[in-house]
Amino acid sequence: MLSFLALLLLHALIAPALAASDYSERLLLRPLPQNALLASFNFRSNESSTAFEQQNFRYFPRSLAQILQHAGTKELHLRFSLGRWDAESWGQRPWNGAREGGTGVELWAWVEAQDQEEAFARWLSLTNTLSGLFCASLNFIDATKTIRPVMTFQPEGDHQNSSHLHLLHGTLPHEVVCTENLTPFLKLLPCKGKAGISSLLDGHKLFDASWQTMAIDVVPVCAEGGECVLEMEQTVDMVLDIDRSKRPRDNPIPRPLPIEEIECDTSKPYNAHDTCYPIHKTTEPGFSLADLYGRPIKGACPLTDDEGEGANTVCINTPPERTIDIKTDGAYVENKLQSDTLRCYKLPTGSDFDLVLPEQQMTTGLVHQEPPLSAARHINGHGQEHGSVQAVIKNPSPTDSVEFVYLESLPWFMKPYIHTLRARVSGSSESPIKETYYRPAVDRARGTHLELRMVIPPSSTLTVTYDFEKAILRYTEYPPDANRGFDVAPAVIRLISPASADNKGIYLRTTSLLLPLPTPDFSMPYNVIILTSTVMALGFGNIFNLLVRRFVGADEVPTLGAGGLKGLIRGRVERLRARFAAKRKAT
């Protein structure tokens, strides 16, 4: 079988060329196996640092720039993610995982400050203002959700001009990314979703994707001994299920197809008019941008370059034999790169542009690049008290060992026992852990921060396990959906060797976990217990009284003369008199 080799890393090849101009955007489409399509949107805008400091903004959004200046933030990375990347079928992650985050929201930034307190104060003001800007609950990233990673993150930019940088990192795994986060994201773009590739970004389609991540990266980039620019990169990566996305919006229900439209396996002996064994389709599905996104691209964004690399706005990475029809009224230019496996188009200005790929039987299969590592993490055990976390990391490479950093950021109510931390490599007794950084949690003040530098030999499996205890929260600390459980942020894995070709790094994230905590029954039985306890206490009190009290006859009690009302009054009088006598003595 002929095989078509997908490009190693298109993003990496394209990126340096784009850095030159002030604004550029690019959409890369890549059909994936199992009727999936990866669409990577990338928008890049530069602003010289002098213009930035003078608050003279052209392509850089003013709203974000002022926040960064106010919070003393030199480098910012913000991620909104949904779903999971299926590495088994889709292969290596786009951007080597450097432009994606864990499920929910993830934010890390280098903040300039004199000391840790100031850095944290600036971090809080950063999260609070970003929260308003992106309509996300970023303000919930408080001290318990903030860590200061040591090995996992390296600055992407050049920071010669800055001193006292502090890295802070926070995650919100339970945050549901939605349209309200997309709108402010689009507003930061110069063409604001009205023209250019960003006109495809529509909440209905973006959030129907099998996996999607939105990223904002602000990085200072300095030329050799020259002018520094502040570069902002906005990235949207999504994997669309082609069949699902092609369904029209007014009829989104996947009703069973009429039997005539289903291809049956007629070789089966039982095949009949009412019995149909469906054949798995082997053709590549047909699609067009208008099918997938509900509309074609509304022409080029006028701010993009007319010439050169930056003009290649829409690229598609398919085998050369794949037919691609262009539907547009304007003038477009097609460039074939990478021995025809990458076809790029310069968009016409002012008229719609659409790519149409018909359904086609291919002779070359799609080949995806094997990811360097694959990781899965699960909570084991059951019950209200204990549990254990198991992370399984596989190195598929038959020749190279992989060195990586494994970062866990756990909420304070999940208390790991570090003495139970075990890392085992299949078929080896040697400990793969080379270096450990551990900062234990403090109740209600900060979470656990664990970083492990480990080496995994070729074609072997590394298993990290540790036990943990579940804390009991205070009654008011439970969220309204207490019985759902609590989300635990994904683990972040950064590869050290093989090192990445650029300064972005190679990253991998596991899925988030759901941690069920002991939950009080907030309803009726709670009252029943209280009531029962009251009854028990009453009963116990009486019996205890009977057991320990000494019963004596009424005549045995020493009395103050006669009892009754007279005795009572006399007693009071005596007491008063004694008090007066005492006072007189004192004075």
Partner: protein
């Protein structure tokens, strides 16, 4: 205080010791009567769905049309696999799932119980929900063979068809796991154990792919062959291992969807004909209690419940006009409801007795009946403790009967006043606790022996072991009593204390058990209730002129003791088990094999209760009666 004093003075009253047996009897009768009134309209409630998120039956179901053609093809495929090897079957089922773009994995398991090998394979596929982030999952199970050991042809085919159908929807907010287990009990157990990583690694293979926390499981049992079979009703099976139950909301949702949306009648506890009359309701409750009390696995869902995963099995029964597509639509609607869940099922009851598909009693209403029965043992134990502290009958000093004149008296002088009091009334009775405590404790330890034997004997010897144990346990109490009497005759006080302690423990065990497995506690309580009333009747002391005339009991001592011993022998747990097996026409070996499988595979605790709580209490009671016989 005056009232209190008069109550305290009652302690000395000899009548107070006459009361407990009647009180015990009242408790037992009260407990039974309590259960009998539960099916009445006034004491039970209609079911309702507590969890608002479930919205049962609120969605349109689209599982029709060409899916039926595909279902028929899959059913032929599954039928074709019936005589294939396990590996072949697993591979082919995996291929079907794989062609639907699902993640597929297999799992082998191999258990040993009663000298049998239980080995098979599970195959499962994970549909990664488009709206899910791998934190939650629901399971659809189609066991390859159902509880009656028939091949679940249509059930497995339905799972395959639904997997293909569900894959097209974009609304799943939880992963869906399709599990075709090798059998109905051990296979799901192996799978769910491995899913929570609490399996023994030499018996069960770990799972290679997993998803998030399980939120619910639905099993489909539809053994119709390749040409289908139209069924009449859905039989909803809900008992878990050790009598644990799924959340009532899940059951209600299933009933509400099947009955309200699809128009399929629902039935439970094998009540094929239910007219909603008192007798039918009571019969359903009693069957439910028998099933819960045995604590056995009743379907593929049973193994999930101990892991706090709510699960039920939908089983098709009867001949009617509903076809596989209506079952498919029921499952579809059920999964849409489960998909709506925001939290783990927790709103509704976990402890309930169902008497009809839409009528139940909750724990608050039914618990007193088992508790009252357990209390009867405690009352008797307290009474026996008080009785053991009493000395022999105190002669009445004021009696004009001349025999009493010879009784020893003591002159007591206080504050210048003198009184003549019988010496017996002033003596303090010491309780000798060593023998009673030691005996009761060691008899509880003896229970470990049969527990070990029955769980580790191979199948061919089980019947022999059962008969031998029955014979031995029947003779053992009498032999023990005889041996005791020949070595050291236990005093009346010691036998009383033996009975006191054993009943005290039984009462405690049963009341604790009632909160965990009501039915088991109730059934054992009823079966052991005569132990409250049997007594050791000791021979009167060598007759002396001072002793009172022997009572009726003492006169017919031997006859009554023999009658008691016979009654007790009939109440031997093993004898009762034999009788139950004869009544229900079950082979006793099958029960024991299942029990051993339960012990080794499912984590069944019923035999622990039987051998370490019920049997020792019976044994002590029997020895006490026997010691009366041999005194």
């Amino acid at each position: 205080m005056a009232l209190l004093n008069s109550v305290l003075a009652l302690r000395k009253d000899p009548r107070i010791l006459k009361l407990p047996p009647y009180l015990s009897l009242l408790c037992i009768l009260g407990g039974i009567a309590w259960l009998l009134v539960l099916p009445l309209q006034e004491y039970s409630r209609g079911t309702y769905v507590s969890e608002n998120a479930l919205l049962p039956g609120q969605v349109h179901t689209y599982f029709t049309g060409s899916e039926h053609n595909i279902f028929r093809a899959y059913r032929q495929e599954v039928h074709g696999l019936a005589d294939k090897s396990i590996e072949e079957r697993t591979r082919r089922l995996g291929d079907v799932f794989r062609s639907q773009n699902l993640k597929v994995a297999t799992q082998r398991y191999k258990y040993h119980a009663s000298g049998r090998n239980i080995s098979n394979q599970n195959v499962y596929a994970i549909l990664q929900g488009p709206r899910a982030d791998a934190t939650e999952a629901v399971v659809l199970i189609g066991a390859w063979r159902n509880m009656d050991n028939e091949i679940n042809t249509s059930g497995v085919a339905l799972v395959l068809t639904l997997a293909r159908y569900f894959k097209r929807w974009s609304l799943w907010s939880k992963d869906i796991i399709f599990l075709v287990s090798g059998d109905s009990t051990s296979g799901p157990q192996a799978w769910v154990d491995a899913y929570h990583d609490s399996h023994s690694s030499d018996a069960v293979e770990p799972l290679s792919i997993k998803s998030g926390a399980l939120q619910g499981a639905i099993a489909v049992d539809y053994p119709a062959g390749p040409w289908g079979h139209r069924y009449d009703k859905l039989h909803i099976v809900y008992d878990g291992v050790n009598g644990q139950l799924p959340n009532l909301d899940l059951f209600n949702t299933a009933v509400s969807i099947a009955n309200g949306q699809m128009g399929i009648g629902c039935t439970l506890q094998r009540m094929w004909k239910h007219d909603d009359k008192y007798q039918d309701r009571l019969q359903t409750v009693v069957r439910g209690m028998m099933s819960q009390g045995l604590g056995h696995a009743t379907g593929p869902h049973s193994s999930f419940i101990p892991y706090h995963v709510d699960a039920i099995t939908l089983q098709t029964v009867g001949d009617g006009w509903h076809d596989e597509m209506s079952l498919g639509r029921t499952v579809e609607s059920l999964f849409r409801s489960l998909n709506n869940l925001l939290e783990h099922l927790h709103q509704s009851f976990f402890f309930y007795l169902l008497m009809q598909a839409n009528r139940f009693v909750s724990i608050g209403t039914y618990l007193p009946s088992a508790m009252v029965i357990a209390v009867n043992f405690s009352i008797t134990a307290i009474a026996l403790w008080v009785a053991s502290g009493r000395s022999a009958t105190i002669p009445n000093p004021a009696s004009t009967d001349h025999k009493d004149k010879n009784a020893a008296v003591t002159v007591v002088e206080k504050d210048g006043a003198k009184a003549i009091i019988p010496t017996a009334a002033l003596e303090i009775t010491e309780r000798s606790l060593f023998l009673p405590l030691g005996f009761v404790l060691s008899s509880h330890f003896i229970g470990l022996l049969p527990l070990y034997i029955f769980n580790n004997t191979s199948q061919s010897y089980l019947n022999l072991a059962f008969n031998a144990t029955t014979a031995i346990t029947t003779i053992l109490p009498l032999a023990t009593a005889f041996a005791l009497s020949s070595v050291k005759q236990p005093t009346e006080q010691e036998t009383t204390l033996v009975q006191c302690f054993s009943l005290l423990l039984l009462g405690m065990f049963l009341s604790a058990l009632a909160t965990l497995n009501f039915s088991l506690s109730f059934l054992i309580g009823i079966a052991a209730s005569p132990l409250s009333f049997t007594r050791a009747i000791h021979a009167p002391p060598a007759s002396s002129p001072t002793s009172p005339p022997p009572s009726f009991l003492k006169k017919n001592r031997t006859a009554i003791s023999v009658a008691q011993a016979t009654l007790i022998a009939a109440l031997n747990p093993l004898v009762l088990m034999k009788i139950a097996a004869l009544v229900w026409k079950v082979d006793i070996t099958d029960i024991l094999v299942k029990a051993a499988e339960g012990w080794h595979v499912w984590g069944l605790w019923t035999q622990v209760v039987v051998w370490l709580a019920w049997w020792p209490a019976w044994f002590c009671g029997a020895v006490v009666v026997g010691s009366g016989l041999f005194s």
